[in-house]
Every structure is written in C-alpha cells, then in structure tokens.
Symmetry: C2
Subunit: 337 residues, 2 copies
DNA sequence: GTGAAAGCGCTAACAT
DNA sequence: ATGTTAGCGCTTTCAC
C-alpha cells in the first residue's frame, strides 16, 4: 500500500514547520531560512519521505509530469534499442523519465499505447509510427500533449519529424554497384505502405534511371510477411537463368536472410550484396557486408530536443529534419558483375 | 497545457449525469443503466475526454498507478533489450506500462533512477542491479513499492530474484573443451564484484578441478575497463610461448573482441573459443561460435510474474528462481588442442 | 520569509 | 441504480 508513505504534512509536523515550507524545500525553491531547510531535510530523512510527483502534477501549472512516452517498432530490435538509449540520455539530462512501448507495425497498438500513455499524462511522445493516419492526434495536441515523429513522418497530421536520407542513401549504394558493372540488381524491401520502404525503393529506381538501366520488375519485391517468404523469393531468384549479379536488401532482417541464402548456395563471393541498416558483426563476416546506415544518435537527439522545446512551449512552425545516412563500403559491395 | 483537458465533471454535465456515474462507466463497472452508459460514452467522445489515471491513483486504495519500472544495464544492449521486450509483453497483458532506465554499472545511477521512479509512484520495480548494497530499499518496500531482482540477486536485501545457472553453464562448456584435450584454457571475465562474473568464474574453476587441471593464474583475467584492455590482454596472451589452446570469454563484448583478435592473428581456426551470452550472427562466422546463452524470455516472464504477484499482495517468502542456461556447440568450440 | 486555505481530477464511503 | 461529499498529496494563491 502506498498509503503508508509519509506526506508533506507529516514532514511539516515532524520538523515543526508548515506544509508549504516543506514544499519549498523539497522543490529546491530559494528564499527559505537555512535553519528551516535543515529542519525539513532532517525530517525528510527521518521519515523516509519521498516526493510524489504525480500528485504535484495535478495542481501544477501546465500539469507537467516530467515523463515522456517513446513508441518504437520493437524495443528489442537494434535500431529501436539504440534510439531508446539516445532518447533516455537526453531525457535524463533534464530529469525526465521515459515510458516505452513496441508497436510491431500494428496501428491499433499505436492507438492503444498512446491512450495508455496519455492516461498517465506524459508530457509528450516520440513516435516511430505504425499507423497511416494520425488525424486522431489533433485533439491530443490541442489538449496539451506534444508529438514528434521519428524515422517516418506523420500522415494527415502536421508535426515535427526527424527522418533519414533513405532515398539518397540507397541511390548512392546502388550507383556504386552500377559503376562496378552491375546491370541486373535485385531490390528486396518492405511494403510500399511504409514510408521508409517507399523512399528506399525510390532511391533504387533513381539510381537505375540515372544510368539508363531499365527496371526489371522480376528483380524487385516489396513486402514480405515473414522470413521464410524472403528466403523463398531469394532461392527462386538465384536459381533463375538470368539471375541478378547484385542484390540490395533494404532492411536488416532481409539482409540477414540474404546472407544466409547466398552462403547456402555458395554464391556469397559471386553475387554482390549491400544492405540497409546496421548489422552487428557485419564487418567480421566473409565477405564483410557493405551497409547503408542511419545516424541513430543524431536522429534521437534531434527528436528529443524538438519534443522538449515543444513541451517548454515553443510555438514555431513544425520542422521536418532530415539526417544523412552513411554508406560503408566493404567486400560484399565490391564484388564485380 | 493539460489544463484544457475536460474532466469527469465536464462529461457529467454534458451527459446530464453525475460525476460518479461517469467514473463508473469510464472504469467499466457493472450495474449502470445501459441508457446512461450510452449517454456518457457519447459525451466522452464529443469532449475527447481522456481518463486521468494519475489523479485516480491518488485516491485509489493502495494507490496503484499500473506502471512499473525496469532498470537495466543498458537498454541498447541485446540482453537488456530482449529482457525489456519480454517484460513489456507480460505487462501489456495486464494493462501495465513500463518505464525504463540504463544503469551502466553505476550504483549512484541506480539510486537516482529508483528515486525518480518512486517519485512517479511506480507499483514495483524489476532491477538488474548495479549496486552492491540494497539495504536502502527496505524503507521503499515498507512504503509499498515491490522489487524483483533479475540476472543478479540483491545484496543485504531479502527479495525475489531470478538468475541463470551461470556456474553450471560455464562448467559444461569448459568441460567440453577439456574433453577435446585442452589443458591450457584461458578465462576472460568481468570484475569479480559482479555476481554473474564470479559465478561464471566459479564454473570455470570447477571444471578444471574436476579434471585435476591446475589453475594457471596467467591464463585468467577478471575485469577490464574497456575494449582496448581486453584486446591488449589477448594480444599478449596469444604471443606467449605457452599460449592457451582454448579461450572462454565470459561476456559478449569480450567474446566479440576475442573473435577480432583471433582473426587478426589468423588463429581463429587453431585456438578454440567459447563465449557466454547470445551473439547475433554467431552461427554465420567462420568458424561459427560456440556459446553458452541465457533463456532471457523465461527469466523476464518469471520476474514479471513474481512482481505482479507481489503487487497483488502475495505475502509468501521471497523466492530465488534459477533458469537453466543452454550450451550451443558450434565449430569454434570443437577445435582440438 | 512563512503559512493557511483552496482546489487539481479522481475514487471511496456513504447516502438515497 | 445513482448521486453527494470528502479527501488523496500536492501546488497555487494570497494573506501575513
């Protein structure tokens, strides 16, 4: 029972001061007689008093709870986890705690979790969205909850957002493949409904167009429901007569499966491979894997800063900040056509 | 400003009912006239009412906030992240949200974060501890906050805990090396002050003892301050005349460095290696890496269940649950002496 | 500089 | 079955 916790009134009685003085001391307000401060602090220690921030937020102007929500694709995937850590560090510097949740691409879960966080009155939310319509947030923002989107922008909802140069990053990587003589380059990505997936596909198409290589739809596939679908597509792809000489995998799980399939067919030294997203140990594989990666630290810090500014009342127009990707060339991307 | 959010009183007025009826409907209590339910629900929708759980917890018996805290080593490391996901899933099933924080092995941070979470009145905490004295939690538990420890038990604080068979897991792996003829087996682990590090070292020593292999302190090192120290020790170790024929690395970062160093010396096919902790892509390296791993899902679920039971008022004696590790033998562990 | 009183949004206890 | 009132622990407002 939290009921047995002492309150400010208990501390006031114990220290022979008033409730308000205790409040001032606990909140570190200036202008309190040092003697009283000592008395209060002694009583706090003696009674093991713990400030109740949630009660305070009820009456506090603006009702701030110094808690934010962070909605990720899945807290256990490396991209989400790294983003989480960055946001946590930014929040810690300001005495803000972070509540997290995984959406798994489910738009219903997005709404549920946002409702759950709002019921706990978070001051704002950083969201890697899973839904394709964020109109429903208009009322929440009007009521005082701030939102910043990350990785993908909001849809039907004008807001701050931080994204990466998905298209340009892929374009650079695919162009490098073309310059090595590749003309048949496969592209495996997520469903086009996902913003990042579409952007990455656009980058691939642009690179082909610039080099006047016609699109071969047989070499493209967007959207897989699970790993075995990826595997099946790749096995089919590689068994064709006119199989590709290079593969671009636009997401880390797809890259992982591609590595395994290429190995199992003993083609990992014959067919070039470049993937999108960080992959632990990618540099230790044989061949080492070329990757296009996002600057997660920059993305997370910018998103956190944007959110904190909004919570602090900044009213300027909504910003969309774009963070450059990095192309790390390794052996798998240098295999010639 | 959260101030503009409508309250139950606004909903009551809009629906022509009373505050208490609104409360009943919002909380899904039975025994309310369906007509009134409809009226209230209509008003809730119209006004975009959002229940304020934090206000409710103030008055609610037991003061539950339906929020728990999860303190991890570092939310972005794979072990922590996987644990986080498991706990999140267990919590979600009960409508509980999770606040998280990274301790980085810092005991001051542990206290700070616990204080921050208690200030927000979490119902309980699941802790991978970083401090070596948890006496200070006695008062918190007395005041109604529940604690479950995971990965390492609490010190000077009697509580529920979930750990893995660290010692037995290592013993099994090292014994397998011995049975392949290895007698000079190096052991690299974390500082002995860390529970898991000590346990893993114990397992190593037990395996040697059972086979009557004398301990060679030159082959052991416990505690590194950073990756370059690990690297330096390994480089020295491998350049000795009587270098080890096998290495056991008792933690994932150490295993990673060992993989890199063995490769750089071209010894990865000559010296056996077994590591502790999961390593993504370990099966795709050449040689594939043998690992002793923890059942993170089981550990997380058990910890969550223990915590929820305590929150629900279970008063039985504190339990220490031990979850078996798994030894996955791959090529790196099968290299002979 | 300090304190008393009101009230934040809700639930509990008690009417009706 | 529904409503009224008090009060959770705190911050605000305002008086001293």
């Amino acid at each position: 029972m939290n009921r047995n916790r002492p309150t400010m009134l208990d501390v006031a009685k114990e220290s022979g001061t008033s409730l308000k003085t205790v409040s001032r001391v606990v909140n570190g307000e200036s202008g309190v007689n040092p003697e009283l401060v000592t008395k209060v602090e002694r009583a706090v220690k003696k009674l093991h008093y713990r400030h109740n921030l949630t009660a305070g937020s009820l009456r506090r102007l603006g009702g701030r709870t110094k808690t934010i929500g962070l909605l990720l694709e899945n807290v256990s995937n490396p991209f989400s986890a790294a983003l989480h850590r960055t946001v946590e560090d930014c929040a810690r510097a300001r005495g803000i705690e972070v509540m997290t949740g995984s959406l798994d691409g489910d738009s219903a879960r997005e709404r549920e979790l946002i409702n759950g966080f709002i019921a706990r009155r978070v001051d704002g939310l950083i969201v890697v969205p899973s839904s394709d319509d964020h109109k429903y947030l208009v009322n929440e923002r009007r009521a005082g909850t701030q939102f910043v989107f990350i990785d993908r922008p909001a849809l039907n909802f004008n807001s701050d957002a931080v994204t990466a140069t998905n298209s340009e990053g892929v374009e650079e990587a695919v162009t490098s493949l073309i310059s090595l003589g590749h003309k048949r380059i496969a592209f495996l990505g997520d469903f086009e409904g996902i913003f990042t997936a579409k952007e990455r596909h656009n980058g691939y198409r642009k690179a082909l167009r610039s080099s006047k290589i016609p699109v071969d739809k047989e070499l493209e596939k967007l959207g897989f429901h699970n790993e075995s679908e990826i595997e099946a597509f790749l096995i089919d792809l590689l068994s064709r007569q006119n199989r590709p000489t290079a593969i671009f995998t636009a997401q880390n799980v797809i890259t992982l499966v591609a590595i395994r399939v290429l190995r199992s067919k003993n083609l990992h030294h014959k067919i070039a491979l470049i993937g999108f997203d960080e992959l632990p140990l990618a540099d230790l594989l044989d061949p080492a894997i070329s990757l296009v990666t996002q600057d997660i630290h920059a993305m997370g810090s910018i998103a956190a800063q944007l959110l904190f500014d909004r919570i602090d009342g900044v009213k300027s127009g909504y910003e969309e900040r774009v963070v450059p990707t990095t192309f790390t060339q390794r052996a798998s991307g240098l295999i010639k056509a």
